[in-house]
Symmetry: C2
Subunit: 179 residues, 2 copies
DNA sequence: GCCGAATAGTCAAGCCTTCAACTACGCTAG
DNA sequence: CTAGCGTAGTTGAAGGCTTGACTATTCGGC
């Protein structure tokens, strides 16, 4: 479904000439689709369950968690955006909506007049505390409960390998993560 | 960032009493985040590159591929939605937009008066043929080129394990997939 | 100090997704 | 044959995301 057009390369050479697409063989296709579908379904499922049971989408949840883990429960907008793999614009919109719920407030940054701080309110922290058990149960049920210890180890290895390529700076944050 | 609130369970027992959240330990946290971030970043990257270089989002690409692989390049709307992990409504909107581009057309289903067939046009097939090399190159560069054969095998194993839990019917389609 | 370049964040327009009706058709029982 | 129920698909409104333009502030060289 994703890398192939029916007519392509039934008997392609092992090493296609430069310029020719390097089509996936049957084994690669199967691995790719298994990864793609499972990632999609798992993310959808976790997001849906969390949203329905707590009213907090996974995107919002990540923002609240990121804030809750910092000293003073506050963070610069850009830093927060990076941590949540979000664009500046998207985060700005999201924080506005969280502000309307009373879970976050904005505060001008003392050191840099251009900057804004997003601050987690007590209400926001309470909402996070209420949602966390639901989320962790979802991750347990749909992920860890399904995997052997070896598979968990493989998952970590795979994820970190891809992260090193996709975003070398993110992986550092992983290692020093307080949680 | 995802399953933990800072104050929670620093010295939690090995097996929490029933009802207590089964918090993730440090090792599980790291595996979970590595998986989550890498999945997010990889999907974003592939979608962004495909969209910029071909004007076709990954969601549209999947629809075109699914149609191209069938006999007659046509498929029932519901079947197509299932294959693309999409809701009925979402697919209906997407097909409308693809229709405006002239890449797909709707046709009433002869056997079932309620049904509609989505049919891939020649223009649609040409668009797909143009996009496929871009997509496969992205998957190569950002995924397979980064992994050892063992890691690819682990990825397949992991994905299929999760699929068996999340959606047992999808995995069958994987095995008989023509690509 | 002052000017130009870079950075932080916001905003508006357009596209996409979701949710909840809603239409239309087919199937089965009485 | 027709009433009632289930299925297939569409639609419109509401809200979220992306892109590009815009404002405000800081930094770095002169």
């Amino acid at each position: 479904m994703t890398a192939y057009v029916s007519s392509a390369s039934p008997g392609a050479p092992e090493t296609p000439p430069p310029g020719e697409p390097r089509w996936l063989d049957a084994h690669e296709q199967r691995a790719w689709r298994a990864w793609l579908y499972s990632a999609q379904l798992l993310q959808d499922r976790l997001d849906r369950e969390l949203t329905h049971e707590t009213g907090i989408s996974h995107a919002y949840y990540e923002i609240l968690v990121a804030l809750s883990e910092t000293e003073g429960r506050m963070m610069r907008m850009s830093e927060l955006a990076d941590k949540c793999l979000s664009s500046r614009s998207r985060l700005s919109h999201a924080v506005s909506r969280l502000e309307e719920r009373g879970w976050v407030r904005r505060q001008v940054c003392a050191e840099d007049g251009r900057g804004q701080l997003a601050v987690l309110t007590d209400e926001g922290f309470a909402a996070l505390e209420a949602a966390a058990p639901v989320h962790v149960e979802g991750v347990r049920t749909h992920l860890f409960d399904q995997l052997t210890p070896e598979q968990v180890e493989n998952m970590r290895d795979l994820g970190e390998t891809l992260l090193r390529h996709l975003d070398p700076t993110t992986i550092k944050a992983l290692h020093q993560a307080p949680s």
